[in-house]
């Protein structure tokens, strides 16, 4: 991404397009809201100077803000040439931001309710230049275009980024890998010309039942509670002065404690469930994932604010199958993509790399197989990491529990309640179960040209990373891992989380895995094979 100045200085040729005129309704409102503190300051200042003859300061401020936002609209133009997307802004200081069209990695179309009311949509063009801070951000935003125009622009840009001539150029440039990562040329599913989109997934309204099993409701409830409390605090309202709260407190004082606890639990539970369902519906309603014939995945979703995202398949290096414990309990999972060039910061709230919201596990697995064009990495049974890894899981869970038990013992000895001891002792079986599940979840495989690694219990995750996407190995051994003969092998990659670890596997297995995943890389650094060494304890699955 480059910032050039006054390249197209004086002449306004007809290719330069304006943002939608309807933004004249959105921009001033938004700017006024943004400048409220300053405007309030102006009004107060105007009133207090002299006898209030400066009353016009406030209205003047409003007029200036509106005029500025109109000016901003009037001076903003964009155009799309065969090589570049250009955005020109500024009245006094002209700035032209240009993004090479073949560097466009993502085109997201977002429409907030206000935008939708006016038939508008915002277009975010991402170039994925994470390190390119010199260009001032990565990509450009057109806020906003008429919805139809936005959709057309998105199709145009994505089509251009994938057109054969550009692909060739990209293939030979140093930062672009050539072929599809999973080696498979789309065969067999050759689409009709008039309907090039193949639908891979669509939201089933029944999936909303999984919403309460995500943490989103709990987080939302906490956020709302915190916000409400803060608001009351700022307005100097003591909660117990508010009528309903007062009534509630009176009610508590007259009722048995266990009944109060029960009621509060039920109320909280209902609130959390309602919030999580609301959140699920708001962000995922109308979710649809399609594969475009020219090699990209398109995702549309959202009830009020709609989003349309695309992931180019040649930037896809794999998928992550997310099974947090609660979702796992109801046989559900989430799916996200491992892609290069998408900022990973948005992933916590299901950002650009989301491929499937919480849905039945079978659906998630089938979708993963379709996206990878190979069911093997999803279905493959994983190689376990052996007894040393199991001991390590157990030890790492029991150590904190041991500390807890000792602390409880000390508390009882110095006069604490016996219940403390009981509570501490009861954590032991929970810890053992957790360790057993953590070990059961731990495993790896090489399948379909991809490294498959799975770990975790409370947040179990299976990562499938194409071997072509691996750009190096970190083999780490802590002091205790060395004593146990274990190592953690981390595949580094330019995509997704940047690192995908295979945790606590026996050292020879780690080396062998690294060697098989990227043949040739480790070859120079292997110990010469000693004839009698192998065959003792290397239960390595055939890839």
């Amino acid at each position: 991404m480059t910032v050039s100045d006054s390249q197209h200085g004086g002449q306004v040729d007809e290719n330069w397009r304006r943002l939608s005129t309807r933004m004249l309704l959105v921009h001033p409102v938004r700017e006024l809201v943004r400048y409220i503190p300053a405007l309030v300051g102006l009004v107060v200042a105007g009133r207090s100077v002299g006898d209030g003859e400066m009353w016009w300061w406030g209205p003047l401020g409003v007029v200036v803000v509106i005029a500025l936002s109109v000016l901003r609209w009037a001076t903003t133009r964009y155009r799309i040439t065969p090589e570049q997307v250009q955005l020109r802004t500024g009245l006094l200081q002209r700035k032209t931001i240009a993004t090479p069209a073949d560097r466009v990695r993502s085109v997201d179309v977002t429409a907030s309710p206000l935008h939708r009311l006016l038939g508008l949509a915002k277009v975010d063009i991402g170039t994925g230049s994470q390190r390119g801070a010199s260009g001032g951000g990565s990509g450009l935003t057109l806020d906003s275009l008429p919805a139809a125009e936005a959709a057309a622009l998105r199709a145009e840009l994505l089509h251009r980024a994938r057109s054969p001539s550009v692909d060739e150029r990209a293939g030979s440039s140093p930062s672009e890998p050539g072929a599809l990562p999973f080696g498979a040329v789309p065969v067999g599913d050759a689409p009709m010309a008039q309907d090039p989109d193949i639908e891979l997934a669509r939201l089933d309204p029944r999936w909303v039942r999984f919403a309460p099993f995500t943490m989103s409701g709990v987080l939302a409830a906490a956020a709302i509670f915190g916000l409400g409390w803060n608001l009351l605090d700022q307005m100097n309202v003591t909660p117990s002065d508010v009528g309903p709260v007062r009534g509630f407190v009176d009610h508590i004082e007259q009722t048995a404690i266990w009944l109060v606890i029960l009621q509060v639990m039920v109320a909280l539970g209902a609130a959390v469930i309602a919030l999580s369902i609301g959140g699920y519906v708001l962000s995922y309603w109308g979710f649809r994932l399609t594969r475009h014939a020219q090699g990209s995945l398109h995702i549309t979703r959202g009830l009020l604010t709609t989003r349309a995202t695309s992931i180019e398949e040649r930037r896809l290096r794999g998928v992550e199958l997310d099974e947090p414990l609660l979702l796992r309990a109801v046989h559900a999972a989430r799916l996200s993509g491992i892609t290069t060039g998408l900022e990973s910061k948005g992933r916590a709230d299901g950002g650009s790399s989301l491929l499937l919201p919480p849905a039945p596990l079978a659906v998630a697995r089938a979708l993963a197989a379709q996206i990878l064009r190979d069911p093997a990495p999803v279905d493959v049974s994983l190689t376990a990491h052996g007894p040393a890894a199991r001991r390590r899981r157990l030890l790492r869970v029991l150590l904190p529990v041991f500390v807890l038990v000792v602390a409880a013992g000390a508390a009882i000895w110095s006069g604490g309640s016996l219940w403390l001891g009981l509570g501490a002792v009861l954590t032991i079986p929970v810890a053992v179960l957790l360790a057993a599940d953590r070990y059961r979840s731990l495993g790896h495989a090489l399948s379909g040209g991809a490294l498959v690694t799975q770990q975790g219990s409370l947040g179990r995750r299976r990562d499938v990373l194409a071997c072509e996407g691996i750009i190096g190995w970190n083999l780490r051994q802590t002091f205790f891992q060395r004593r146990a003969g274990l190592a953690t092998l981390t595949a580094t990659t330019a995509a997704g989380r940047q690192r995908y670890a295979v945790t606590d596997l026996p050292l020879p297995m780690a080396v062998s895995l690294g060697d098989r995943a990227l043949p040739g890389l480790l070859g120079d650094f292997l110990e010469p094979e000693v004839p009698e060494a192998p065959g003792v304890s290397s239960p390595i699955a055939s890839g």
Binding site: E176, I471, Q477, V511, L526, E527
Partner: protein, 160 residues
Amino acid sequence: MQLREPANHVSSRAIVFWTVRALPGWLIALGAQLLWLMASRDSEGLRVAALAVTVLFASAHLVVMPRWRYRVHRWEVTDTAVFTQSGWLSQERRIAPISRVQTVDTDRGPLEQLFRLANVTVTTASAAGPLRIHGLDRATADGLVAKLTEVTSRSDGDAT
């Protein structure tokens, strides 16, 4: 299957460098304890014992850590890969193919300049994978950078 160690040691001056670098932290801890010892007179035995323990740990750390590190810290560059090994209690080996190398940097802190040492950092397209070789002799570092630049320019291929 086992990995062998990378072929080259770092400079032996790194041993002194690591010792000197670890010294200030221990000196501060010892100074604080001495002040504490002088501050008042009660339970003196306990404080002297604590001081003795600190001295013991400090000397063990200052003697063992640099030598252990020196045995672990190794590196090797072939025509196809960069291979480094570092750490002491926790050890890490990193391998990256030459075809994926994006930048090669050297840097020298003030203390390192005093010992005529340099660090070489080899980065790839992954944010997780910089390979750092600490405590190289300055001439070796310059030679290594020259070699890496030469080898990477020879290799064609992509870097992601």
